[in-house]
Symmetry: D2
Subunit: 345 residues, 4 copies
């Protein structure tokens, strides 16, 4: 990266397969915002390389919206994103910005983008970040495209979000390890996975981890029922039980464990997986999704789209107005939920 805004970009190779550019895009900026997610680097790489390949000068903004209004921008070429596709975290850094929530903050950010001659901004993040991008476009007319980067998979408008697959895999790896101990000691493990408002991670981990029970925020299942399940499980001769709880379920893992101990007299162990679910080298599904959506985000701006999130649907890339991504709700799969219960016998 070089820090000079007006330098010619030596790495913008001639666009061999140039796409139509009716919007006349010549410079684009990209930032990561909110909680980091594995695959954000793969998305940055895809954005920078696609732009470069189309002859567009690419600018990276460091520290999200916080860095944007402070002017932390750098020109990026194809080599600046070499060897990052496999890395967790985000080389552009991320932050949560209070200033951005004020009109003054956003005005400063918009001015920075105008000073740099930027024709559009790509925001990689979750719904909080899309709010930030939405208001920037509404108030200052700068075209914004969102790329769904969050482990929670709770955005309407895409079948999956970048980082989700890796988070599930990390949580599953922990469940497999805890099962070893649970089975050896014939113990009950109550494991809390991420998901403040959504049970996507919890449900996938429950099915893939062969859990006896799962508690998610979408469901108003009373914790009392788990007592019968555990008793039944012991009666069937199961050695050790695995109960998965999304952090957003009322009472969390500790509440569920307390109910089990009170109702059965059996000892439980609580494990709260926490931030490890955010890190690590992204699995292939996250890298591929990030590559596809990173490419699509640049093409979208070239085509004149704005104020939308690029996502993946059944038929390929789809576009959803930013505000719908948080206004509409993506449900967990009821079929998968039933499947989890069927197979836990």
């Amino acid at each position: 990266m070089t820090d000079h805004p007006t330098s010619p970009n030596p790495t913008a190779v001639p666009a061999t397969t140039a796409r139509p550019n009716p919007a006349g895009v010549r410079r684009l900026a990209v930032l990561t915002s909110g909680g980091d997610a594995p695959g954000m680097n793969a998305a940055i790489r895809a954005v920078v390389r696609t732009g470069t390949q189309q002859g567009i000068e690419m600018i990276g903004v460091r520290r999200g919206f916080s860095g944007l209004h402070r002017g932390e921008l750098v020109v990026m070429g194809a080599r600046d994103v070499a060897n990052i596709i496999q890395r967790g975290g985000t080389i552009l850094l991320t932050a949560r910005s209070r200033t951005w929530r004020t009109p003054e903050g956003r005005a400063r950010g918009a001015q920075v983008l105008r000073d740099w001659g930027v024709d559009g901004l790509i925001v990689i993040g979750g719904d909080g970040s899309f709010h930030g991008g939405h208001y920037l476009q509404e108030e200052h007319g700068i075209p914004v495209i969102g790329i769904p980067g969050t482990i929670d998979n709770d955005l309407y408008g895409t079948d999956h979000t970048i980082g989700y697959f890796t988070a599930v895999e990390t949580a599953l790896d922990a469940v497999d390890k805890l099962r070893d101990t649970g089975a050896s000691h014939e113990r009950i493990f109550v494991i809390e996975v991420m998901g403040r408002h959504a049970g996507h991670i919890a449900l996938d981990v429950a099915v893939a981890g062969g859990a006896e029970e799962v508690f998610i925020p979408e469901d108003h299942k009373p914790v009392a029922g788990v007592v019968e399940i555990v008793k039944d499980s012991v009666a069937k001769g199961k050695r050790g039980s695995i109960i998965i709880v999304a952090e957003g379920y009322e009472g969390g893992a500790q509440g569920v464990a307390d109910a089990i101990e009170a109702g059965t007299g059996l000892e439980t162990r609580v494990s709260i997986l926490g931030h490890i679910q955010r890190g690590g080298s992204p699995v292939s599904s996250d890298r591929i999704l990030a590559s596809r959506l990173g490419e699509a985000a640049v093409y979208a701006l070239m085509e004149g789209r704005k104020g939308v999130m690029v996502g993946r649907g059944a038929s390929g890339v789809i576009y959803t107005p930013l505000h719908e991504t948080w206004e509409k709700r993506k449900d967990v799969s009821r079929d998968l939920y039933r499947c989890a219960m069927t197979l836990s016998i």
Copy 2:
């Protein structure tokens, strides 16, 4: 597992959420066949537990069709499939059977199933295995349902096959490791991944591994082009290159490496990943797919379906006649192919 065919099944729990059973299914058999794939055990577990939960007696056949005509059958209950969801390979074992290709062999197998009072057979495997199931049903009227279990992802009628995600992940892990060495020595690695007739694994690994080039059987790209790509890559200052080749591409990895050495004078290293791609604990996506399709296969037989493969489509579980799974062709994604090339600059 117990070996007695006529024993009552003590683990068939009363079906709390009984599904309609118009086909009047009371006993079902399941086998794994052909090359093993990670997630086969998760599929066996799902089949056995779903059946048991529906009050159906479940029978496991060992060593695929080979064990079927020799009568290697065992009753299986819910506990017999405990603690296997995370294991590679198949607890039912698998084999390739020459005898099954003869009408006499299939007649013997059909007689075994009739002797055991089996109302339907679930075959977990790839197209060769589905051939075996197809003829069994055609010739002897035994309902057969296929579950796609193969790392190659080359079956029409399902977005993915069980084992595919794990194979991609294993190959990608190897690519990440080779990149360390490739970058340190500024060397060209030509890596051969599985896929005799299909480039699905190769393409996913190429995108996720950030490869410079990919060669797949579906494509008739001349190997000569790679010479220009490698030269160009060196000129751009890339440190080390990764070239992915599907085993079915003419000449394989060695052929591509020879062309590069002849055309550029640069040293290359060939790595043929081979059978490690078949093994290992299945990743979450394979376990979930196996759980869903295993459940669906039992329901399908209860509903009177036969001669079809259960697969996953955009809308959920779909059913495809067995013969279409090998007659029709599942293409690799052209969009993904273009994406791979865009991002390799």
Copy 3:
């Protein structure tokens, strides 16, 4: 496993390379006790196979001392320990027994061993388990050999304990993941690893994880010092800090995090890794150590040794009286501690 105590053992192969057996050992029992540790299965396998190969009949005791006084014994042959070397947990199960702490409980256990004609007992576990074995031998004359199986590495008489290497690797993997997030958000992570009385895991993880600071129970370093370190770290431009705390350090990770927040005003994140450190497939070093010590334990009983733990020292296998393993203290390496501090600049 078969449950009949007097059956001939068909799997006791003729000892091709028979070792001297002055103690005239003909039957041996083995159990796992206390907290489980990765590699316990590899140790069970080594014990059973070495005994079998020497023509000794091998007996497995389930659920540790608890199962011993209740008579949960099974004959084990070479095939009964096939395919377990790579598995976490313990196939013999483990438990903590209150009854065993009473003379009556131990008398019952001793009678069970005499009824089964057992000539010696191998105890795989930590210091609590060795206490149990020590009193059994003292009170009832049954030869006991200990194998160090605990993730804490806190036993005198062996350079490492079985399970330790895997626990360090699991904790390190978590630290690597947290570093991704820590660096992206420029945040301070305070990570608690296992070690109630010993800082071995914490120190290894700190060095290997490139931590800024480490707090262990052996050290009476005031937590206040960490405030300066963190301030200094920020001043140097470090992006994110990793602080490792052993669970036995007063106040734990939460105490350290509170001190940092109070002293610097910076936000911290606490991560308590917990039981995942006990599980998972053992790494090679644990499997090799378990194999060597399992073999050595059987030879030790054949040679007439008793009341000792087999351990690994610089010169190979060494023998330490059981009571010394908990009476004497194994220090953490001061050189390594200094190294950790040198490299955290």
Copy 4:
């Protein structure tokens, strides 16, 4: 890194715990050479940070001896080695240099070091690299210290070499995966691991992987014997066999597989693991060893030592004349070999 040789080094912090520096060292250079090994980056980090902490200016040489005689040197500070401890490969790059084998080449390299005012050179690599360092010191009087960085573990003067533990773990992971397939198909896998002249990797992998047989270069075991072992294994009811072969064993894995097929008529599968064993994030043992030896190498030069390799022995860091590291032989452990055979029944 900055490229200017005469710049003051702003990152050389005041040495808070200054060590005696009788040799008056003020500037040191470090390079990596020969085949890369996981942990080389951890060693570079340790060297640079220890030197910096002692007030010594540190210089990195890129591309090994090849870059040395071409003058590819850069000043390195503590921050330049941040976030590399967990990375495979070597940020300093490595190469094999023909020019260095000539007196003229070495003379040029010596002149470069003198021009930069370097007081000593640290060489991270294997025996070929130590040859290069040895002659540089002999002919030009520049103090050289070696750090053992090679996956083969074949250097006399250290219990283990940096990279060895990771290579074993990578090979073991592959063996675990192949075992899944081997057991499912009841097949024989013959697996070739690295080790052209030494069987260290092969032996560790055989013990940890529960292999049936192992072939190493140190041993002149006729391949014919394996036929009996495989027959015996089948007779015992083993499902699938694992045979480990070091690449340096005459005939390699293919030779062993051919002998088995000819002698038993059974089908085998050959897997040559190859370069993946060189890559990947280093395991904890390699990072710790690299950290300790990197620190020790700087102290050694400060104390006036030269022409030696720093290694780890039973008592801590030991020093061995460079030429002894290749002249003397480090045997594989005979006890471990016997153990492997005992446990393969």
